[in-house]
Amino acid sequence: MELLEITGLKKSFGELEVLKGIDLSVNEKEVVSILGPSGSGKSTFLRCISMLEHPDEGKMVYCGKEAAHSEGGKMIYAPKNELKEIKSSFGLVFQSFNLFPHYSVLKNLTDAPIHVQKRSKNEVKKEAMALLEKMGLSDKAEQYPYQLSGGQQQRVAIARALAMKPKMLFFDEPTSALDPELTAEILKVLRGLADEHMTMVIVTHEIGFAKSVSDKVVFMDGGVIVEQGAPADVIDNPKNERTRAFLKKMEEK
């Protein structure tokens, strides 16, 4: 079953056309990595499908429900309550964590499930503690974000997204703000989620990680998808010249 189906997505900032028509579909339990040089539009694409940015054109379908399509150059969105339900089907993990600094780690996890999803406090708390346990952070439940390392903060952010029980998770360069050793910490968590068959779309610069964990790799450049397919094809045997150049550059680093 397709959880995400994007067709012909376009987005411009003023004169600059950042996305020039992107098609992407993600199946249930699939892990999709998006690679590409800076400025290729991969983050903008992720922000569009997270609905933090409004695309100019295209069609977006989540779990079989249409969130928006364009008609005569204008986007037409689903009714508010439907959109709200669609938005609850995915979570997003930011590059800069964006934890709520005034809430304890536990409250960062429980606040939205309790006040947005109106679930029972006890149940939410129990689940949150289990999530923290899984992230190896059960001893940090009562601490505040500033007391944690970057890697710990990002793990809390992932737990916060999971606490909402989304059908899929989006990651916007989740390790770019971290040191190499902390990066490994986060990649381990992501690998764990992949093993549990969490549906994920990950924008990343970690080629090795993308290759080992993804079902599908997408290479973007200049606002278009240059190449997509199984990691063995795209990473090991790239057909496109731009993909090859990018991969070579990354290897040299």
Partner: protein, 503 residues
């Protein structure tokens, strides 16, 4: 340990203040023979004795007399307009040489060294012509205005007041002190007071200038005389001025000047009059005096605290609403709030208080009551502080990173939830230092309520200082504001500490 350190600190501050005060009071000695100028202190809003004419010059009967006296002595005349409440301080510090400004001797015989009286004046009552008030007894239950520390005030509540006047004052609803006659007439016209008691010369002048809306009651409050007042003991200068005045009386100059100012009926200079030299004061221990003054000021403390608390209660939430309006995507609302903030921040608070108090009458023709005075103070302060708070809130809200908004959106918070649960707590932490500054300013700004004659702490201190001819009340007031702000700063820093649990 920390708390104990505060007390010696306060003591040290008090000692420091009194040293400074002492330094100022003891440096007024001058050698008379070397005198080159005479600094005359006067209330610039007291026509026809001393005021600003249409060309902006200080003129008046008294100033004309002083001019002539200086000319004859080869002095330069310096016309120094003073705040009437501060006249004793001015005189004591040597900032002025004399008070020459329709200065009433009656009741103040022992406080200054005087020339002989040159004007015989009476205190009379001015009311609105259509008010139906025709005699003093009609003023029972009404608010009556007098200038702070004026002869009219003394006629009602000084020790030397007649029993009849004391009883009259008792029958009034309130004896309201105002800083000047312009404010007094604004009050009378707007209905905030029912009558003004003042010098007859000034009353005649004001009624003539302001038209037939006003009238004077036939029954005088008291009769009294004007003379030139010098610092107690300054006989040398007094004698010189007295001599010159008599010289002017003899050669007809005095009568001519009186005629120029249409005061021929009031002047009474007579070389045979006895000179008043001040006499001796009764001694009172410093501690007794301080205790008595503190007691007198206690009433004002309550008034200042009330202004402070009510202003905060109303302006803190109002500021948030204004900040929302200012940040609204609905442009007309945003512009309106921007204009409001710009006007409030761009004009003096004192002016805003005057507008709030007198505006209803002079713009909309609504008659205001005396009770409105207090409401006007609170409304004026609230409207002013809300604008400042609004800008602080706005900067505090905008300092919350965009990522926080995005995280909240992804988690499905509604706009209201996002503000209340995520933005607001972080905003509070951002703005506490700026809020502390504003609150401390507010403590001190409460003294501006005097602009519309609301008697708070500082106004009262000035009145007591004038009545007692001492600066002690001002220092007591200073200590009060300092201690008040010390507490405010401590409370705010405790809140700041409490919010340190997150970064």
């Amino acid at each position: 340990m920390k708390k104990k350190r505060i007390i010696p600190l306060l003591c040290a501050a008090a000692v420091g203040l009194s040293l400074v005060a002492g330094a100022f009071t003891s440096c007024s000695e001058k050698n008379e023979s070397e005198r080159t100028k005479l600094i005359v202190g006067f209330d610039a809003e007291f026509p026809p004795y001393g005021y600003k004419d249409e060309s902006g010059e200080y003129v008046g009967f008294d100033l004309s007399l002083a001019e002539e006296v200086c000319k004859r002595n080869g002095w330069e005349l310096v016309k120094q307009p003073i705040d009437w409440d501060s006249k004793d301080m001015e005189l004591k510090t040597g900032a002025i040489d004399c008070i020459w400004n329709g200065f009433t001797v009656t009741g103040r015989e022992k406080l200054y060294t005087w020339t002989t009286p040159y004007v015989d004046n009476s205190q009379v009552t001015v009311v609105l012509a259509d008010s139906g008030i025709t005699q003093m007894s009609d003023l029972a239950g009404k608010v009556v205005a007098v200038q702070a520390d004026s002869a009219a005030l003394a006629a009602f509540d000084s020790e030397d007041a007649t029993d009849e006047n004391k009883a009259l004052a008792q029958s009034f609803k309130e004896l309201q002190q105002v800083p000047n006659y312009n404010i007094a007439f604004l009050n009378l016209e707007s209905g905030a007071v029912s009558a003004i008691c003042m010098d007859i010369g000034v009353a005649k002048y004001e009624i003539e200038a302001r038209g037939s809306k006003f009238m004077m009651l036939d029954e005088p409050v008291s009769t009294e005389q004007y003379a030139v007042g010098f610092l107690k003991g300054n006989y040398e200068l007094r004698d010189k001025v007295q001599e010159t005045l008599i010289e002017m009386l003899d050669d007809g100059t005095f009568a001519n000047i009186a005629k120029d100012w249409e005061l021929s009926d009031s002047v009474c200079l007579n070389k045979d009059d006895r000179l008043l030299d001040g006499g001796t004061e009764k001694k009172e221990s410093f501690a007794d005096k301080l205790g008595r003054i503190c007691k007198q000021l206690a009433k004002g403390v309550g008034a200042s605290l009330l202004i402070f608390v009510l202003t905060l209660i109303f302006s803190l939430p109002l500021g948030l609403l204004i900040a929302f309006g200012r940040m609204s995507r609905f442009k007309p609302l945003s512009w309106l709030m921007k204009l409001y903030i710009s006007i409030v921040r761009g004009t003096p608070l004192m002016l805003q208080l005057l507008v709030v108090f007198f505006g209803p009458h002079f713009i909309f023709g609504i008659s205001t009551s005396s009770e409105y005075r207090f409401y006007a103070v609170v409304i004026g302060f609230t409207l002013n502080y809300a604008a400042y708070f609004a800008e602080i809130y706005r900067s505090g809200i905008q300092a919350v990173p965009q990522g926080q908004h995005e995280a909240a959106e992804i988690l499905g918070y509604t706009r209201q939830q996002k503000f209340i649960r995520i933005v607001f707590p972080q905003m509070i932490k951002n703005i506490i230092p700026s809020i502390t500054n504003e609150v401390i300013t507010l403590v001190k700004d409460t003294s501006l309520a005097f602009a519309i004659s609301y008697t708070e702490m500082f106004t009262l201190a000035k009145q007591v200082a004038a009545a007692e001819a001492t600066i002690i009340p001002l220092f007591v007031a200073g200590v009060f504001y300092y201690v008040f702000n010390f507490i405010v700063a401590a409370v705010m820093s405790a809140i700041e500490k409490k919010l340190e649990y997150f970064k």
